[in-house]
């Protein structure tokens, strides 16, 4: 358990460092990207996905066993309407704040105090969504598993 926590902190640290080094914890950088005035953040995201996709594809094909978590099993979501509904709401918040959940903690780490306000808002939004989901829950139907297991 202690090793897992250390690995999480280390990978979180590396991710946060690159995230901030790419300027992703700055409103102006993300805002210029969303205004389509600067394509570099898109290139960062695209090349990140390209790199990770290729590596994960190789690891999965070789039947990789991870040192800390057993056989590699990649998490996948099937297409559902919730990605559209949630996506539109998320995208609106992203446009207004120039931030995403990774931004709040990296802004704060980088000394931007507004990260606290963002984090509080994100937590409030999650709590609201959980309340809304509880209200519309139908107890007769078993909840669908979020992730589709991968063979």
């Amino acid at each position: 358990m202690r090793r897992v926590i250390l690995v999480c902190a280390l990978f979180g640290g590396a991710f946060g460092f690159v995230f901030a080094a790419a300027g992703f914890n700055q409103y102006d950088v993300i805002h210029r990207m969303l205004l389509l005035k600067d394509v570099k953040p898109f290139l960062v995201m695209g090349s990140a996905v390209g790199t990770a996709m290729a590596l994960l594809w190789l690891l999965e094909r070789r039947g990789w066993t991870t040192p800390l978590g057993g056989a590699l099993s990649l998490r996948r979501w099937r297409v559902e309407p919730k990605q559209l509904w949630g996506g539109v709401i998320f995208g609106t918040g992203w446009a207004i704040t120039g931030a995403c959940p990774g931004t709040a903690s990296t802004m704060l780490g980088g000394g931007s105090l507004m990260g606290i306000v963002l984090a509080a808002g994100i937590i409030a939004g999650i709590a609201l969504r959980d309340l809304a989901a509880k209200r519309t829950e139908r107890p007769k139907i078993a909840p669908a598993p979020d992730a589709v297991p991968v063979s």
């Binding site: 690995v7 999480c8 990978f11 979180g12 590396a14 946060g16 460092f17 690159v18 995230f19 901030a20 080094a21 790419a22 914890n25 409103y27 805002h31 969303l34 290139l43 695209g46 090349s47 996905v49 390209g50 790199t51 990770a52 996709m53 590596l55 994960l56 991870t66 056989a71 590699l72 998490r75 996948r76 979501w77 297409v79 919730k82 509904w85 949630g86 996506g87 539109v88 709401i89 998320f90 992203w94 446009a95 207004i96 704040t97 120039g98 931030a99 995403c100 959940p101 990774g102 903690s105 990296t106 000394g111 931007s112 507004m114 963002l118 808002g121 994100i122 939004g125 999650i126 969504r129």
Partner: protein, 157 residues
């Protein structure tokens, strides 16, 4: 003050390094790198539900990593600044707007199952169809709303 790190670093360095974090985290710990899950743990904890502690450590890591980057490369947005949005709004207005916007982000990420990291970076990398739909929706909406804000504010944003 002279900084040894020039931010932003070139995209062709930042992108592959970010990809290495995503793939490496899976390769070592068999875990899906996503940040919004950490905030979900806070809500679950408050509701007395069991939590996944590792997600909180991932979040703590991002905080420390960003602090290291700011030490080496500075941060133009340090303190109460918030770029051109901070120039446009007074501090109380900014706090209200960021809290409301943050709530939309949390609500939407919870509903969609993950955020820009969990769906956009990691989900797309695991070739998750749902993640591709989610990030496409995030992007299209965010660009459309940003362009709308640009027009509504007379080009100030």
């Amino acid at each position: 003050m002279i900084h040894p790190l020039s931010i932003p670093i070139p995209w062709w360095i930042a992108g592959p390094l970010m990809g290495l974090c995503v793939a490496g985290f899976y390769a070592v710990a068999n875990k899906h790198l996503g940040i919004s899950g950490a905030y979900v743990q806070v809500v679950d904890f408050a509701r007395g539900r069991p939590i996944e502690v590792w997600r909180l450590w991932l979040l703590v890591g991002t905080f420390l990593g960003a602090a290291a980057a700011a030490l080496l490369g500075g941060n133009p947005q340090a303190g109460f600044g918030y770029g051109v949005l901070g120039d446009l709004l007074s501090l109380p207005e900014l706090v209200v707007v960021l809290f409301a916007g943050g709530a939309l982000i949390g609500f939407g990420a919870r509903w969609a199952g993950a955020c820009t990291s969990g769906h956009g970076l990691t989900g797309c990398s695991t070739r998750s169809r749902g993640s591709m739909v989610a990030i496409a929706t995030f992007m299209i909406t965010a660009v459309a709303v940003t362009l709308l804000l640009h027009v509504l504010t007379g080009g100030k944003l």
